[in-house]
Symmetry: C2
Amino acid sequence: METKLGKQTIKFSMPPVITASAAVGGAKEGEGPLGADFDMIVSDDKMGKKSWDLAEGAFQSAAIELTLKKAKLKNNDIDYVLSGDLQNQCVASHYGLRETGIPFLGLYGACSTMVESMSLAAALVGAGYANHAVCLTSSHFCSAEKQFRNPLEYGGQRTPTSQWTVTGSGAAVISSSGTGPRVTHITTGRIVDKGITDINNMGAAMAPAAIDTISAHFRDTGREPDYYDLILTGDLGVIGSDILCDLIVNEGYDIKSRHNDCGKMIYYIKEQDVHAGGSGCGCCASVLCGHIMKEMKSGRYKRVLVAATGALMNSLTVQQGESIPAISHAVAIEM
Amino acid sequence: METKLGKQTIKFSMPPVITASAAVGGAKEGEGPLGADFDMIVSDDKMGKKSWDLAEGAFQSAAIELTLKKAKLKNNDIDYVLSGDLQNQCVASHYGLRETGIPFLGLYGACSTMVESMSLAAALVGAGYANHAVCLTSSHFCSAEKQFRNPLEYGGQRTPTSQWTVTGSGAAVISSSGTGPRVTHITTGRIVDKGITDINNMGAAMAPAAIDTISAHFRDTGREPDYYDLILTGDLGVIGSDILCDLIVNEGYDIKSRHNDCGKMIYYIKEQDVHAGGSGCGCCASVLCGHIMKEMKSGRYKRVLVAATGALMNSLTVQQGESIPAISHAVAIEM
């Protein structure tokens, strides 16, 4: 039987293996510091489709295709695909994956979706329900910006705290056997709402959720921050990362020397003019499935804790004056 | 270890138990034929909140509270809550559940969400990851109508094929032990898109997904339709149900004598002027968690196959001329 640790963590007795992964990015992501770690860079942000919305689905199609090719598996070999995205009713996933014929579990965790997806995929594989499950997600700057903020043509000025939604997708195959980094623990988050109402300051809204889940992970497992070579958040960006590192000290954990954030890593923050950094489901997904997996396989990192965070509002609730609930899910990935 | 049957079905060696459930409905649902089977009928469709959007969250809060009361459990006893809804970015679930403090897994399966939620909750409990998981979902006529079609004040005329979104929520506790109906099998659906583009004919868009999943369930398990006392779909309504029963014969299964649909059961179709019947995540959730659970406990039904269906478009993709992908997930519930 599996071991439940504390309130929120599962420790796998037979840790599922990440046997393959792939990352697809847009032109701006290709020009960033991790450009070489993407499997595919797409210069046309419509990817030959008639809308950005459909293009985002095509990023997911490309990510799953590349990943399965690396894993030497066909659609028919996959037991489940778990995906979601930021578009209303998660349509990037539905249109992007509708031709795969793989049993599909739709998720919504905003920018925490990649880790929610890995958690459930690992749970399904770890329990013996599946041999292979694919987890993936995506985001697209243009589809997100018009849906959550303003039409691009409006040219609205961005605040200093705003983040740049990554155009990209990342996919991973989680398998019951094989070689690769293993998902050893999953820590499932709770919804946390500290009253932030500024839709242009996602980092501040999401940092308290990261504090809650990362602390729960340490409490549940008895591990200390120095167990990990890297404690990686999804897209807190510059401001949210500072809040996380400063305030998690109050919970008894100093993570500053080991922390990094996909939203800080994916762009040259100043040169690429992205204000507080990258964001979006595709940020964590593409950095994790591209750069981080490469660094784990090369031996640079042996133990990584990934805590992705999501802001769970929509544009209507914010206009109605509601605060922004957030969530963070974490997985421990070890060689 | 668990048994994977065929491509899409899991058979649980230790079937998880539905130890409690509750249904909450609006005034129109209370006046329907199943009115007496709801645990709570709310006459104020804003439930004291300032918007319909927040009211839908309050339906979820009420449903989980009533269910946990029946199960004699507290929030702190629950390992996971799995929920989603039709509002953009699933905000009814996030605002409705943000104060529970329960580890939360957000799902998006449109109107298939209740069964997706039960499937994953049963999988988590069946594997020993959790003792108790709550699955729930909701819908609200007013929040759905303005988001997917027209503002209510516009008074748009409804087509004969249109369905009436149920205002309501249903919640169930799935536990590793206890008494009650058991989830013996889950069959996870694939995305099916047969090219339907009419947003006012959801039944036609979703019926092919129901055919695909129900056929897969019979194929995977070797069961025949007469194994079940009831084969229940979520919200195909009058038109979608006819399509399902007519076309599944081509797959070799005649289900007509055992089939019913929550969207046909919840309203007096003609007298309540609901055209093709009820729809929405809350339709399947409230009928299943109220009426069907009562009928199973009373002995009327011993074996029920529930296949909920969801339409996976959004209003933008339909305006862009895209067809409507759909999905159906099924669970076998047995006494």
